[in-house]
């Protein structure tokens, strides 16, 4: 599954094309990044255009804040509304807060920010998965060494790594095997890389969908309805 697809909201015609291409590429499920303030009608038409091709569609919110208070406020407000919550780290302090907070599923970095990268201090406290997006690497080969270093650190700390396309248009859609090949290029092991495009993102989603259900109380505790109790 592709955990990071960013559809262009102003270009509705590209939605079905992107969805078809994702299907041809072999994906069964995608997480679409949508703005938090998107009107319900537009959101449902976006989700429908992707679901019509047979994809299982999930919603994702990307938060990019530079202050701790702003991030915590957003997390409080939107955690329950989205299947995936991710944080684009704009500075080191925010990266530490996001990495520590269990409401955050995924963190990622803008590779163009020269003074910020995924380092050991962040990896030490990281509960969230570390996401690598292919999209920036396509334009700038000089980002390769930074990506390799970040991957090495994430692997050293045995963190969950997610490989995503980060595609904004059909031209940036790639197959899962292509994503995993880039992972191998970045120094990851073939066996682990396969999980980074399939099992790990899927397990994050399953956990969140379960958390958002009415029966969920806390980890390992669920409300068992009378009906299902009698059936068992």
């Amino acid at each position: 599954m592709d955990l990071h697809v960013i559809p262009r909201l102003e270009d509705e015609e590209s939605w079905p094309h992107t969805a078809q291409l994702l299907r041809v590429a072999g994906y069964d499920a995608v997480a679409l990044t949508v703005p938090t303030g998107l009107v319900d009608e537009r959101l449902s038409s976006l989700l429908r255009s992707f679901a019509n091709t047979g994809l299982e569609v999930f919603t994702r919110a990307d938060f990019a804040c530079s202050r701790r208070q702003d991030l915590l406020k957003l997390l409080r407000r939107f955690r329950r509304r989205f299947d995936i919550i991710s944080v684009k780290c704009l500075n080191h302090a925010i990266a530490l807060v996001a990495a520590r907070d269990r409401r955050v599923d995924v963190i990622f970095f803008d590779p163009h920010l020269r003074n910020l990268w995924f380092d050991h201090s962040i990896a030490n406290v990281c509960r969230a998965a570390f996401e690598f997006n292919l999209r920036p690497l396509m334009d700038d080969a000089s980002l390769l060494s930074k990506a390799m270093r970040e991957m090495r650190i994430a692997e050293e700390h045995r963190l969950n790594i997610v490989l995503s396309s980060g595609c904004t248009s059909p031209a940036f859609v790639r197959t899962p095997t292509q994503l995993s090949a880039v992972g191998v290029m970045l120094g990851l092991e073939t066996y682990h890389v396969r999980n980074m495009v399939s099992l790990i993102p899927w397990s994050i989603l399953v956990k969140n969908v379960e958390r958002r259900s009415d029966e969920y109380v806390e980890d390992g505790v669920q409300i068992v309805s009378k009906k299902s109790f009698h059936h068992d």
Partner: protein, 104 residues
């Protein structure tokens, strides 16, 4: 010298020529893996169907990941945005044709 073959479909806003695609692939391999990497992968465009925008590309066995990564990092062919997707991998060209729903 065992080789592996990829079936690739190119999605582009403009029609793509086989030569253009081969040049872009070589440039991408050179850019990310260098001259030595390029010669190890030893890519060859076996066939190109301009109508369907499909290609069969061969590479040295054991270097499939490098070829796939180089393909993944291509986003422009001949000035137009393009997405080359690898659809299938096989040890023989016949195998690629046999397994595809639409014969090449």
């Amino acid at each position: 010298m065992t080789r592996r073959y990829f079936r690739i479909r190119i999605f582009s806003s403009q029609p793509v020529a086989g030569e253009q695609f081969a040049l872009t692939l070589t440039a991408s391999l050179q850019r990310y893996f260098g001259e030595v990497g390029l010669s190890k992968v030893n890519p060859k465009l076996i066939r190109f169907d301009a109508k369907k925008s499909e290609a069969i590309v061969g590479c040295q066995k054991g270097y499939e990941d490098q070829l796939q990564a180089a393909l993944a990092l291509i986003n422009r062919i001949g000035g137009a945005e393009a997405a080359p997707l690898t659809l299938r991998l096989s040890g023989t060209i016949k195998g690629l044709r046999r397994r595809s729903q639409q014969p090449f």
